[in-house]
Amino acid sequence: MKRIEAIIQPYKLDDVREALKGIGIDGMTIYDVRGHGRQKGHKEVYRGQEYEVDLLPKVKIEVVVADERVEETVKAVVDAARTGKIGDGKVFILPVDEAIRIRNADTGDGAL
């Protein structure tokens, strides 16, 4: 099992959710986050004064999938979130040791 973490533009959330739903993935956790990557924020001028926007609002999506579904899941996320511009975001893939469904104690892929 793998945990896929995607940091995306907020306005791309609906597209990514739809894409995941399209491949049969309904379960996910979503966070409102702020941060920056290589983009490192930017400067805005307001009334003649420079104003630093260093922590940019993004959305983080977490999905845990079986190993064999990692590739199609990542593709769905990347395709849906990509605009080709700086700031589109990142995807991280992390190993998951175990999953347990609290309701009935199912484990492994069956708990996803």
Binding site: V33, E44, Y46
Partner: protein, 859 residues
């Protein structure tokens, strides 16, 4: 052997059946208390020999002491023992009893104390003492109990009254705070929430403590104010039944009225009372009506008894009595009518009263509320027959710092729906939503509250929005829009609720006779109140195309500011945690990008035929329409967006009158300010001369805009205030004198420096921190002009000095946007030289000169 478990289970089933038959919660809790009494008494009498009952008594305390045991509530027992030594001797008896009670499925909370321990003040455990106000004898040594109940406890409560009252009220305030001090939660806590069962009991405890004597504790409801008793009895009946249902449906001590349980209870209560089935929304409306009574009583009593008389708070509160005027007196921090017949004889006084509350934030006295409610028919007659509408009065109320408190007072007296009948559609309306915490009406009031308290927030991100609010010219428009933005949620149908809200708003605008210059911005805000939220979550706000679209939607910086604040307030009022740093940053980003685009482009874009169509339609014939077209040609698009068609028509008439004259001046009073419009043939130093002349006349320029058309006609508009040193006001003679002075200055018959020199140089009061000038130029944003931003400490003649700096170089000021916030002047100038935009070097040189002008003390 007596089977406690079976007895308890069978009794509970019997009580349960009876309750679902008759819906009588009061009877159900009394019946369960009686059952538990029988169990405790029966067990002790059967298993503890009589000789061991001497010096030992079992007492019921808390809710059980009041004989109000809800189906799954804990059973609070106090074992009273004569001495600590005897407590040790009884240890086994008590342990055996507790085990038996637990085995019988009773959840017991117990304590073992001597009489002396019961009356020893524990400063950190006021709840323990308060629970003893409701002590009831069950079995054992009655003489031991009587000594406690009749002698020790009254003496203790009489002695510690102030400490306990203060502590009790402080705990209640903290509890209310966790519910954001409102009863209007969508899924309320029926026990702990404001107006819930805890508050019902709080009112009883406060009245008991306030009237306790050293030989007697009053009955629980003995000193409840007489005018509350009936409503309180009804509220109690309703809440007791509701909590019983909650316990039964949840099979546990659950007090949160979740959405699914609201459905079940609405169904079940209708069945039990034989009434027609009600919707959960209707049942919740009844819930809020009942809880509102309890909440108001609890708040009044907290205010009355919560603070010791000689405390600093009481002294400060009594100072509010100085706010008394010819209509109202203020006593103990509450508002009273000077004459009790006032509301009946002069219904207009009610509106003055709500404005008084909005200004000072003081609550109405109970008597005032009652008199106001009794005068509602007269008030309705007054509101419906006001010949000029009541917009000026309503606007004054809405722009005051405590508009939220005024809304609450309007709601409590019933006057809210007289003044704003459309709001009745969302009265206590529950719309189920995962994120929303409050009823629709309360959400709207909370949105107003959020804006009014914006400046109190220390968060750096929030402060940006607070600064924005300080720049809003007529905040009452924004407040009216917040009041009506969700009123359409009360209707049904396919239409978007914003469309329905707009429709209902139109009724209100007509009834209140809101002039179009105020009405249109309010309509825009209500119609567009969801737009900004949608843009920040659904659109790429870093995309210039998105910003261009949004610029087209908002049109002007004034609308953008108001819509940004509307979105902030609307989001923040969803629930206390909804306005996250994440959302604030996104909202600010959209504001910023749009503001910059508007500053850069909107003033660049010139009026075209299609955008001027609504104004051209005002022309009576082709010749007049042609004239209007020529007048508008060359003005920036901003002119159409900031002026109403009626104002544009006035300016056009001034242009027609201008002909061979050098200038036409129009001065008009508007509330505390004066609108000055000047139409003249353009010439160098014109705008600077006008600014100087007005400063010389003793006027402070709050806002100004300057435009020029292709005919070489300039239109300069000013909002000005007469300085306090000149009395703060102009009469008709002075207004005419101002117009003459401005004309003479434009004609060149009077040198503006002479006018200005008559004026004493004014600076801010000494000792204040000076405002360091900020001057910057932007040569990229506009394709036509160089833009100069100036922020500086305002002073007499500042604008004259700044604009003269441009004119000395022979530069034209194409557009000027002037704002004044307290001591701070915020000015933007769009400047062109003979060859169009200035060079970078020219901009830098001018920037230095402007900075020098800001620091200069000579006007």
């Amino acid at each position: 052997m007596w089977d406690l478990s079976t007895f308890h289970t069978q009794s509970m089933e019997r009580i349960n059946s009876a309750f679902f038959e008759n819906g009588d919660g009061l009877a159900a809790v009394a019946a369960r208390s009686q059952t538990v009494d029988e169990i405790v008494r029966g067990y002790i009498d059967q298993y503890v020999p009589e000789e061991r009952q001497e010096g030992f008594a079992a007492l019921a305390v808390g809710g059980y002491g009041r004989a109000q045991l809800f189906p799954f509530s804990d059973v609070d027992l106090l074992f009273l023992v004569r001495s600590e030594a005897e407590a040790r001797e009884r240890k086994d008896d008590i342990a055996t009893l507790l085990t038996a009670l637990w085995d019988a499925n009773l959840r017991v909370s117990q304590s073992v104390r001597t009489p002396a321990e019961c009356v020893r003040l524990a400063p950190d455990n006021s709840e323990l003492h308060i629970s003893m106000l409701d002590t009831r004898f069950l079995t054992g040594d009655r003489a031991l109990y009587e000594d406690l109940a009749s002698n020790r406890l009254p003496a203790f409560f009489a002695k510690e009254r102030k400490t306990l009252l203060t502590s009790l009220v402080e705990m209640a305030r903290q509890r209310h705070k966790t519910f954001n001090n409102t009863i209007y939660h969508l899924e309320p806590d029926i026990k702990e929430g404001p107006g819930g069962l805890r508050d019902l009991q709080l009112a009883c405890w406060l009245s008991q403590l306030a009237h306790v004597t050293s030989d007697r504790i009053p009955g629980s409801e003995e000193f409840i104010p007489a005018d509350f008793r009936d409503a309180l009895a009804e509220g109690k009946r309703f809440l007791f039944a509701a909590r019983c249902y909650l316990h039964y449906f949840s099979s546990r001590d659950n007090n949160r009225l979740a959405f699914d349980l609201q459905d079940s209870i609405a169904d079940a209560s209708a069945g039990a009372s034989g009434q027609q089935r009600r919707s959960a929304a209707d049942w919740m409306r009844e819930y809020y009506r009942n809880v509102r009574v309890i909440d108001r009583l609890a708040l009044r009593m907290m205010d009355e008894f919560g603070v010791q008389r000689n405390s600093l708070f009481a002294i400060l509160r009594d100072r509010t009595s100085k706010l008394s005027n010819q209509d109202f007196s203020v006593a103990h921090g509450r508002v009273f009518f000077r004459y009790s017949q006032a509301a009946e004889q002069d219904p207009a006084i009610l509106l003055r009263m709500f404005r008084f509350v909005a200004r000072h934030g003081l609550p109405l006295a109970l008597k005032t509320e009652r008199l106001a409610t009794a005068a509602l028919d007269a008030f309705r007659g007054y509101v419906n027959s006001a010949p000029d509408g009541l917009w000026n009065e309503v606007a004054d109320m809405l722009r005051q710092p405590h508009a939220y408190e005024a809304m609450t007072a309007l709601h409590e007296t019933g006057a809210l729906f007289v003044l704003f009948p459309e709001l009745e559609q969302i009265d206590c309306l529950v719309i189920r939503d995962f994120y929303h915490r409050y009823t629709v009406d309360e959400h709207s009031f909370q949105a107003i509250r959020r804006l009014k308290t914006l400046q109190d927030d220390e968060d750096a991100l929030t402060k940006r929005f607070a600064r924005l609010l300080a720049e809003v010219e007529r905040p009452e428009r924004l407040m009216l829009a917040l009041l009506y933005h969700d009123v359409g949620k009360g209707g049904s149908g396919e239409e978007d609720h914003a469309v329905r809200s707009l429709h209902l708003l139109d009724h209100a605008l007509e009834r209140l006779r809101v002039p179009s210059r105020d009405a249109e911005p309010v309509r825009f805000l209500v119609e567009s109140h969801l737009a900004m939220s949608n843009y920040i979550t659904k659109r790429d706000i870093s995309d210039p195309e998105t910003i261009r679209e949004f610029v087209d939607l908002v049109g002007t910086r004034e609308r953008l500011r108001a819509l940004t604040l509307m979105t902030y307030a609307d989001t923040a009022a969803v629930n206390p945690k909804a306005m996250t740093a994440w959302r604030k940053e996104l909202l600010w980003q959209l504001y910023l990008s749009t503001f910059n685009r508007l500053t850069a482009n909107a003033e660049d874009r010139r009026i075209e035929s299609d955008s001027a169509a609504p104004v051209l339609a005002l022309g009576a014939n082709d010749a007049e329409r042609d004239g209007l077209r020529r007048f508008l040609k060359g003005f920036p698009l901003r002119y159409l967006r900031t002026q109403s068609p009626e104002q544009i028509k006035v300016h056009y008439e001034m242009r027609r009158e201008l002909a061979e004259k050098s200038a036409i001046v129009h001065v008009e009073r508007r509330d505390q300010l004066y609108d000055v419009a000047v139409v003249a043939w353009d010439r160098p130093f014109l705008f600077a001369s006008l600014c100087g002349a007005m400063a010389g006349f003793g006027l402070n320029i709050e806002r100004a805009e300057a435009f020029a058309n292709e005919e070489g006609v300039i239109l300069d508009t000013f909002s000005v205030a007469m300085s306090e040193s000149r009395g703060g006001e102009m009469d008709e003679t002075e207004m005419r004198s101002l117009a003459r002075t401005l004309k003479r200055v434009v004609d060149g018959r009077e040198d503006v420096r002479n006018v200005l020199s008559k004026r004493k140089k004014l600076f801010g009061p000494r000792g204040r921190m000076p405002i360091e000038p900020e001057v910057a130029f932007d040569n990229e944003a506009s394709s036509r002009a160089s833009i100069f931003h100036v922020i500086a400490e305002d002073r007499t003649g500042l604008l004259f000095d700044l604009t003269s700096a441009f004119s000395h170089h022979g530069y034209d000021i194409e557009v000027v946007l002037i704002e004044t916030q307290g001591r701070k002047a915020i000015d933007v100038f769009y400047v062109v030289g003979p060859g169009g935009k200035l060079s970078e070097d020219e901009c830098r040189e001018l920037t230095d000169q402007l900075r020098g002008a800001c620091r200069s003390k000579a006007a």
